[in-house]
Symmetry: C2
C-alpha cells in the first residue's frame, strides 16, 4: 500500500454534491478547477460515475442519469489526508493525558501504532515542530515540551502583539479596500449567529477563525499571517476537549467580535485597540483555564 487515493475519493464526493446541486457537469478542465484537482483525477471520477450509472459519458457530453444516493459517497474517513490522520492520532495521545512534558517521542513507535510509514511520521513531526510543542534533539529523538501554561502564555503574548498591530493596520485601510465588504459579510454572519446562539453555538469556532484571519491579513506580513496557523491549531483542539460552558463562552465571544467590528468600522484607533484588547484578554483567559497543569514538567 504505497499511496492512498484520498484525493480522488474526496474530489469524487465533492463531485457528487456538485452533481446533486446543478444536475449537470461542465468540461473536464472546468471541473478540475472547481474541485481543485488535476484532469487525471477528474477523468477517474467521471469514469466511476459512469460505471455506477450516475452519468452517461461520451466525450464532452455528460448526461446525468440519476441523483446520487447516500451509498454513492465514499466513507468520510477514506477521504482524509495521511497527515490529517497522523495529526489526529498524535493530538489524541498528546491530550489523552499521560503525556508529560519532557517525554520522548518515538517515530517508529508512532508509525507502527498509527499504521503508516516512518517517513510520513517524520515529515509530520518536522511540520508540527513549528507549533512549539515538540523539539528535536540533534541526531536523536524528539522531546515533548507539552501543552503547558507556559506554552499558552507565550502563544497569547505573540498573538496579542500581532493582532493589535493587524487590527490597527486594518482600521487604517482605505475606504475602497475590499476588506470592508468582507467585514460587512462577517458582521452579518455574526448577527445571525448571535440570534440563534442557543442552537448554533458550536458553529462559532469556524467563524472565529475566519474573522481573525481576515484581520491578520491586513498586516501584509507573512510571518503574522502564518502565525495564525499556530493559534488556529491550538484552538481547534482546544474546542474539542474543553466543552465546559461552551455556549456561554461563545455567546460572549460573538458579542465581543461585534464590538470589535464596530470599532474597526469607526476607524478610531483608540476604540479598535480597546475592543481588540478586551476580546484577546477573554480568549486568553478561556484558554488558560482549560489547561490542567496538574503534572509538573519532568526530565525524560
Amino acid at each position: 500500500m504505497s499511496k492512498s487515493n484520498n484525493v480522488y475519493k474526496d474530489a469524487y464526493n465533492r463531485g457528487l454534491r456538485l452533481l446533486d446541486e446543478t444536475k449537470s457537469l461542465p468540461s473536464e478542465p472546468e471541473l478540475g478547477a472547481l474541485l481543485g484537482v488535476s484532469r487525471t483525477t477528474i477523468r477517474s471520477i467521471l469514469a466511476r460515475m459512469e460505471e455506477t450509472g450516475l452519468i452517461a459519458w461520451n466525450k464532452r457530453s455528460k448526461m446525468v442519469l440519476r441523483v446520487p444516493r447516500a451509498d454513492d459517497f465514499f466513507p468520510e474517513d477514506e477521504t482524509d489526508t495521511l497527515s490529517q490522520i497522523i495529526e489526529r492520532s498524535f493530538m489524541r495521545r498528546l491530550l489523552a493525558g499521560g503525556a508529560e512534558p519532557g517525554m520522548q517521542i518515538n517515530e517508529l513507535e508512532l508509525a507502527r501504532e498509527i499504521g503508516v510509514g516512518t517517513t510520513s511520521v517524520r515529515e509530520f513531526l518536522i511540520r508540527f515542530s513549528r507549533f512549539g510543542l515538540i523539539e528535536k534533539r540533534r541526531n536523536s529523538h524528539w522531546v515533548l515540551k507539552g501543552f503547558t501554561r507556559a506554552f499558552a502564555l507565550e502563544l497569547t503574548e505573540i498573538r496579542e502583539m500581532f493582532e493589535l498591530r493587524s487590527a490597527a493596520a486594518f482600521a487604517a485601510l482605505p475606504e475602497g479596500s475590499p476588506v470592508w465588504a468582507d467585514l460587512d459579510l462577517l458582521e452579518d454572519e455574526h448577527r445571525l449567529l448571535a440570534r440563534e446562539i442557543a442552537t448554533r453555538f458550536n458553529e462559532f469556532s469556524e467563524l472565529d477563525e475566519r474573522f481573525h484571519r481576515l484581520i491578520h491579513r491586513a498586516s501584509h506580513n507573512r510571518f503574522i499571517v502564518d502565525f495564525y496557523d499556530v493559534i488556529a491549531m491550538i484552538f481547534h483542539y482546544h474546542y474539542q476537549w474543553n466543552k465546559a460552558q461552551e455556549r456561554e463562552r461563545n455567546e460572549v465571544a460573538v458579542a465581543e467580535h461585534l464590538a470589535y467590528i464596530a470599532a474597526l468600522k469607526s476607524r478610531d484607533l483608540g476604540k479598535v485597540d480597546a475592543a481588540c484588547r478586551k476580546h484577546l484578554k477573554s480568549a486568553r483567559h478561556t484558554l488558560l483555564t482549560s489547561i490542567p497543569e496538574a503534572q509538573q514538567p519532568q526530565r525524560g
Copy 2:
C-alpha cells in the same frame, strides 16, 4: 549508499583535536558527553585511532602513541550533514540569480542535481518553509516566493517588534540574573573587536548572532527565540554575498552594539528603546540595500 557516517567523521576530527590538546583520552561515556555522540560512535572512533597508530587501546587504558598529523583528519566536506549540503546547494541556486519569484521548485530535479534522495530534499523543504521564502501547493510543487524587498521588510518588522520587547525584558531583569555576566563578557569581546576591527571585521557576524540571541532569550518566549533562526539564516547568507563596505558596516554595528549594551546596563527603558531602535534601523537599511530587486515578481 544509504546513510553517510558524517557524525562519526566529524566526532573523529574533534576527537583528534582533543587528543592533540590534552595528550590523553577519558573514559568512553565521558568522551561521548564531550563530543556529543553515543558510545557506539566513540568506540568506532577509538577503534580507528588504534588502527592508525594514534593510541594503544586496551579496555580502559588509552595510551597516546603519537600526535595527530594533518592527514589523520577526515576532509572537512565529509563531515557535513546532508541537510547542510542541501541547504547550501539550495541557497546557492536561490542567490545565484535566475531564481525569479513565482518559480516552481522541483523536488526530483533538486535531488538529482545535488545527488541525494528525494526524501531528504522533501524534509529539507518542509523545514525550510518556515523561513517564509517558499510555499507548498497542496499535492503539487513548491513555489519560490523569493528573497525580495517585501520579504526583507516583513522580516525586519517582526524582528523590531520582538527585539524591542526582548530588550525591555532584558533591562528589567534583576541584578542577580546571570545574563548580566554574559552581557559583560560580550561587552569585552566587542571592545576587543572594536580595537582590532581593521583586521578582524569578518568575525563580527558570529558575535552579532550571539549578542542578539542573548537579548531575545530574555523574552522567555519560544516563538521569539525561534524566530531568531529566521534572522540568523538570512544574515548568514547575506554576509556571504554582500561584501561591500563590510569593514565600515561592521565597525558601525560594533559601536551601536556597545551603545546598546550601555543602555541595557543603565536599565533606563527609554535609553534601551532608543539604542535598540537605532541599531535595528541601520541593520534594516543594510539588508535592504543589498537586495537587487531588478527583476519583478513573475507568475510561474
